[in-house]
Symmetry: C2
Subunit: 357 residues, 2 copies
């Protein structure tokens, strides 16, 4: 039976970069006889425009039925002033939560061809290859109660709740350890256990899970120190596992160390093989519609999808190799361009990957 | 009437670096006729050893009575395994909270003499001079309820609460705007308003306060983006104002951009002129007692104290100039040493600043 892929191009540069990623996926589909069937829908601002909400029930049903989801990016100034309850991000948070996509994998990988793009000194980042495993469906993002109210003295106040249960921590810790097993067997768990009750439980449960992984060298680091160490000596890390909020912050910091966030894909996985795949970068409304956005992070998200949801290692490797080949050819979109390289647009970049594949 | 300074050397390298800072303070006292009187007490692990708690009531009373407090650093492996309720950090959090030291100023300044120490490319950080204004007595650090419990199904769970009231946000926003007024008139408020209720109130109140500061160019940034932008182009920032948790993370990240956290002082201010002054770095237990720690951040904390709590601008300037002079002389402790400079210990560095002053 053919596999169902739901494609959600989203907002801003989303549709442009997705068009290129789909070309690459279609070619891989033929070449490796993957038997994929694609269908399309909207998420984020585009869904607000079409359905009145950032994630329509019918879209969610389609996402549930699909074997994997490819997402472009969501959000843009057009929807900045609408009712917060239906802002584009709400659709993203809802699909993550409703599909139980708790395991967010965010690699920060420095492509040797793009070593100069980093704002860090070459010796600090050369060969950088970190994987951040972020808990994606719990913590302060979804904690209840959360409220905004007026106190008796007339003052406004608002609060959020940061909850974690043992089982939520255990399952994301396992993802961290499993990833470390197939990489360099080093896992760093990041928390703020010197201040937060939730972090104390986090640390205790990670220690318990560690017993099942005697081969893994486990360390713990406070989030403030982790934010420093990523700048000071990022190569000390292999896999980092952390909660939703800290993972949001640290994964963005880590991705920027590479200087080429336009190259970084991500995966959000449920307890089975199902996953949503998307570039790490945002919807970049400032350059949307100009045909200059970098489609490579989305193309590499296709490769991640083949690897994690469908175990199609050969096809995944081939796409990564094709991306590396176009970089070797000196082709660059504006965001990663440097002196001596050939500047190309979104479509030309997609075509080059297709040709290399 | 003479001014009372309470000195809390703390743990690890605390006593060593404080000894040098006190030498500098005593000299400034004489030279500028400051009429300061110093007294000493313990905080953190040293207080646990002496009083059984990380902040004794009598110490807190002394701190309340003092006009300013100089702190070394707290914490160390010796107290890592004691009852979490009396860990060294608890003393630090308690003194901040009890004295109402809500306004935490953390400069990230790159000394031209130490430009090489940064892990970032020189052109990215040359001339870097950011001030992070962190809310220090509210938010998730102190929010109630916080609890660790066992659910009916036998599973453990724990949670923290992140509350902010209008008045808490307003007073720290004012500090941010006031600092921006005497600097480059640019303030960036960092939150996570696309996810958190507390951040939505934060942003709304900052906007209200902005009306009183028409000269200030205010921007808002999500915390994940701020963590990226600090790496990508830190010089885009002048003053950053943010909440307790985000400020903890971003100020450490920002200080590491300079590559010389051993140089960075900080101030924690209440609603009046009272403040606690301490280096940004920690207690560095690994090098404690060896006489090699860098005392300059603590010496510069003295200068911050003179400036913010006592308005002794000439004395503050003189100390900063003396520090700059010893750097010009090529003197360096191990943490900031580079080829061609003279490596000195803690005491020799303190003596050199005294001589320069
Ligand atoms: C858009 C936003 C809600 C989202 C998040 O905070 O998770 C984004 O920053 C991300 O990291 O995917
Ligand atoms: C020691 C710890 C509780 C403290 C904090 O998180 O505030 C420290 O990291 C700091 O930034 O002063």
């Amino acid at each position: 039976m053919s596999k169902q892929i739901l494609v959600l191009p989203g907002d801003g540069i989303g549709p442009e970069i997705m068009a290129e990623a789909v070309k690459v996926l279609q070619l891989a589909n033929d070449k490796f006889q993957l038997d994929f069937e694609l269908s399309y829908d909207e998420l984020g601002g585009a869904a607000v425009d079409k359905y009145g909400v950032p994630l329509a029930d019918e879209t969610l049903a389609r996402a549930r039925a699909a074997d994997a989801i490819l997402l472009g990016a969501v959000g843009g100034p057009k929807w900045d002033t609408i009712d917060p309850a239906i802002r584009p991000e709400r659709g993203l948070l809802k699909i993550r939560s409703q599909l139980g996509l708790f395991g967010n994998l965010r690699p920060a990988l420095l492509y040797p061809q793009l070593a100069d793009a980093s704002s860090l000194k070459p010796e600090i980042v050369a060969g950088l290859d970190i994987l951040i495993v972020r808990e994606l469906t719990g913590g302060i993002y979804f904690g209840k109660p959360r409220e905004s109210k007026v106190l008796e003295n007339g003052e406004r106040m608002a609060y959020d709740t940061l909850p974690y249960s043992e089982s939520e921590i255990r399952r994301i810790a396992k993802v961290g350890f499993d990833m470390a097993m197939v990489r360099n067997k080093k896992l760093c768990s990041v928390d703020k256990a010197n201040v937060l009750a939730s972090s104390q439980l986090w640390r205790a449960v990670v220690e318990e899970v560690a017993k099942d992984y005697p081969e893994i060298e486990l360390s713990h680091m406070y989030v403030d120190n982790a934010a420093m160490q990523l700048v000071r000596a990022p190569k000390q890390f292999d896999v980092i596992v952390t909660d939703n909020m800290f993972g949001d912050i640290l994964s963005d910091e880590a991705s920027m160390l590479t200087g080429s966030i336009g190259m970084l894909p991500s995966a959000s996985l449920d307890a089975g093989n199902k996953g949503m795949y998307e570039p790490c970068h945002g919807s970049a409304p400032d350059i949307a519609g100009q045909g200059i956005a970098n489609p490579l992070a989305t193309i590499l998200s296709v490769s991640m999808m083949l690897r994690y949801s469908f175990n199609q290692v050969a096809a995944a490797d081939a796409i990564e190799q094709a991306v590396s080949d176009v970089l070797d050819q000196g082709l660059r979109t504006g965001d990663i361009w440097s002196e001596g390289c050939t500047k190309v647009g979104t479509q030309a970049m997609g075509d080059a990957v297709v040709a290399a594949l």
